[in-house]
């Protein structure tokens, strides 16, 4: 039982773009810690030996203290600690600021397994195949308790919290198999909730993907749920569905709310609006949507989110909706997310409630009018179904 089954390892692999810098900070911290500890230990040992008691009743001369020394050994450590703080903060920003051009993989944790779905639809459990040299963003949630996804060789980790989406990203720099752990205690088989990340050459990855041809991409799957759950009857994608705000082109933008606030449309907001629609009502609409709590699984939710995101191809460019809306144009019941949303007025029409400038009121009024006008499904549906591909052309109209 005691036989060693593997050679001893003292350092983890450096297999991602950030692992080198994390290690540099680690060794800097150890360097400073070693110097400080040795300094105290050597000085103390020196005093302890040099000033050992030589007579049982001797009383040494008393020394009160020194303001200078106190200041010195408060300020110098603090300055050193500021370097720890600054460097750590910089790395933290790198880890949790998501790159725009990442490949998104959705992750659902559940007792006691990890489920992954690739953008092309392939699913895996407890194994994650990724290409080398490609930024990968993991969008994660859980079906039950809190988990945490950790890949030590990449130096990344994030809790996975029920009811929320969390994200981390990495770019692998070395092919190989790396441990994948759950690091937040999640119940009986916590230590079994892990597996491996397999980093592959690009072409191998393509080959691996093609070995799983009948996969349906999350966007297509999401569109399926969008139709089957009846979302489409109100939120007809690409069009103002009538009683409900359109979903095209909204991702990443600010939506004004009925209670006067604003919300940025992100994964978490979409999720919340599906499960708890009354939480944040978009201004100009009423609280009529039923909850889908219990009717959709976490994976279906992630697919719905993927689909809704796909209706906003411009989202990643950080569109701002500050230009005035062109109101009174009921014909544009069709949304038109575009690649250049800021400059294209049509893109604003796709989001009638977005304006935040003084014209907002007008825009809002127009929005509801337009919504009524577009209530007949016939006018919006055909366009909606052609959502993605048609949009660039609309710019030219």
């Amino acid at each position: 039982m005691f036989l060693l089954q593997s050679p001893v390892r003292l350092l983890p692999e450096q297999a991602s773009t950030i692992s080198g810098e994390v290690d540099a900070l680690y060794f800097y911290l150890w360097g400073v810690s070693a110097v400080m500890t040795l300094l105290v230990a050597i000085v103390a040992a020196f005093f302890v030996i040099k000033y050992r008691r030589r007579a049982p009743d001797e009383i040494p001369r008393q020394i009160a203290g020194s303001m200078k020394l106190e200041t010195l050994w408060s300020v110098i450590p603090f300055i050193i600690m500021l370097t720890f703080f600054g460097w750590g903060l910089k790395l933290y920003f790198t880890m949790y600021r998501m790159p725009k051009d990442a490949m998104e993989i959705s992750v659902v944790g559940k007792q006691w397994m990890w489920k992954f779905q690739h953008p092309t639809g392939q699913r895996e459990i407890n194994e994650l195949h990724v290409p080398i040299g490609q930024k990968i963003k993991l969008i994660m949630t859980t079906e039950d308790v809190i988990h945490a996804l950790s890949i030590p060789d990449f130096r990344i980790k994030s809790d996975v919290v029920p009811g929320r989406y969390t994200a981390i990203w990495f770019e692998a720099t070395k092919t190989g198999r790396y441990h994948l752990f759950c690091t937040e205690y999640c119940g009986t088989n916590h230590s079994g909730m892990g597996g491996f990340v397999e980093v592959m050459e690009r072409n191998e990855y393509e080959a691996w993907l093609s070995g799983n041809l009948n996969a349906v991409s999350p966007i297509v799957a999401g569109e399926g749920h969008f139709n089957s759950l009846g979302c489409v009857s109100c939120h007809s994608a690409g069009g103002a569905g009538g009683r409900c705000p359109t979903l095209a082109g909204i991702f990443g933008k600010q939506q004004p709310l009925a209670d006067g606030g604003n919300v940025t449309v992100d994964e978490a907001y979409i999720r919340e609006s599906i499960l708890n629609p009354s939480a944040k009502i978009v201004a100009g609409y009423s609280n009529i949507m039923p909850t889908y709590q219990g009717q959709v699984s976490e994976e279906q939710l992630l697919q719905l989110v993927s689909y809704i995101k796909s209706l906003s191809p411009a989202a990643s460019n950080g569109i701002q909706t500050t230009a005035p809306a062109r109101e009174n144009n009921p014909s544009t019941g069709v949304a038109s997310p575009s690649g250049q949303g800021t400059t294209n007025p049509d893109s604003l029409r796709s989001n009638p409630l977005a304006p935040t400038n003084p014209n907002a009121e007008a825009g809002r009024g127009a929005g509801s009018t337009r919504a009524n006008d577009a209530a007949s499904p016939g006018s919006s549906r055909p366009n909606s179904s052609s959502s993605g591909g048609n949009q660039p052309r609309r710019e030219n109209q």
């Binding site: 911290l29 302890v48 039950d144 809790d159 009811g163 969390t166 916590h190």
Partner: protein, 576 residues
Amino acid sequence: MSSINSPFDKPFEQPVDSPGGRMRPVPAERNYLNADYSVRSWLLTKDHKRIALLYLFSVSFFFFIGSIYAMLIRLELLTPKGDLVQAATYNKLFTHHGIIMIFLFLIPSIPAILGNFLVPLMIGAKDLAFPKINLLSWYLYMIGAVIVSSAIMIGGVDTGWYFYVPYSSNFSNTYVTLAGLGIFVLGFSSILTGLNFIVTTHTMRAPGMTWFRLPLFIWSHYATSLIMLLGTPVIAITLLLLVFERTFHVGIFDPTIGGDPVLFQHLFWFYSHPAVYIMLLPGMAIISEIIATFSRKNIFGYKFVAFSSIAIAVFGFLVWGHHLFSSSQSVFAGMIFSFISFAVAVPSAIKVFNWTATLFRGSISYDTPMLYALGYIGLFAIGGLTGLFLASLGMDVHLTDTYFVVAHFHYVMVGGTLLAYLGGIHYWWPKITGRLYPEGWGRFSALIVFVGFNLTFFPQFLLGFLGMPRRYHAYPPEYQVLNVLSSAGASILAIGFTIPLIYLLWSLRYGPKATDDPWMATGLEWRTSSPPPTENFVETPIVTWEAYEFAPQETMKVVGKLTPDDKPDRSSYSGN
């Protein structure tokens, strides 16, 4: 300046010939231990010293229970596969180890045993301000301990000591409610102790015992009491909410019924990080006393050390978010919490530097308490510095929830607090029991503890950096070597803890009788007999000297005459 380098003139052993001389307290035969032998006189005692002993027995008992759990954990981790116990059992082992060590041992250990015994003695009072409440706090501790133990015995808890939701509220089928209620009751014991110390320090100081003449032990315990009083209610509320959610399915923390699981983490750590300082500050209290006594020097920068305790208590309330750097807390919040966490490290560093500086030109002896104190400084330095790794945001992401964290807090809690506790027990053993422990065995076991401790926990830093997660029943085989080292260290550590248990018990009967002041220390607790009489001092002491004023006997009178130079603090005359 005649005092410079002048030897003690038979220090503190003066007969009662001069009116200002040391008072011989009553006939030496009568003391708090032999005042009454009946069981009733122990169970209904209002004497803080007897209550301290009640705590000593019960807390030590739970320390050994908690250690057994630790040994089982280390045995399981000898091999990568989970082969000794089942996963569900292993999860209960570390949960029970954590709950027992934190709530039943570390939090009450130093304050409730040594603090209870020494706070009144050190400030020259007859007892704590509320002796009955003091007894009540021991009963609450016992009730809480019985509830927690029964939860463990009828099936146990498997949530980890931190009870994270929604696992603890909706998923775990173990006795979470019962354990939560037990900890809830234990919290009140802690609150009452804190309250008692604060009121006692304010109102019961002997004449002449001004705030800046207080031993640093008192300053640290005052700071600890502030945290106990202000922080503990939060964990009580949090656990009640958890029990409420678990029992009545009201959505507070569980997202499927409208709650927020991260809210629980905020509430939990709002207490549990300051609780780290409840465990740490009393250890620092002991170290200040030991360093001063065994180097015969006043603590370098007394006021800095005193106020650093208060600073730690105050800043300690503002850093809880550093437990949530990777749990979807906002990046901005992470930044603030990281910064304050570095700030709270400064007062701890100040203490370490001041203790080291105190040794300069001292008269240093190598008695057991001093060995523990020197070990403490080294291990606490490592524990504190590795805390900076975890306060550093980008570093924490990789290290959090790994064995690095386990190693870090064991360096602080075991290398720090537990070593201080053992040092303190040895230091005040003659005062508490009236007997001397065998010095050779003491030094030997201190060495064993130091070696065993480092062997147990240093490999865990390396394991953590490799990525081995906490609370893992089975692990990848490449982590085995370091785990074997750690388990080997744990068995050495176990020997190091068993030896003192044996010789301390032995000394109760066979140890040489202790003098009133075997160390030639300065505190008021040494100015009365060993063991002290029930009323502590025959005559209320009047303090005319500064803290840690090592000086020839003439100036060390228990009942001095206050001169205008003493500028006594009016509040210290409560009795007059």
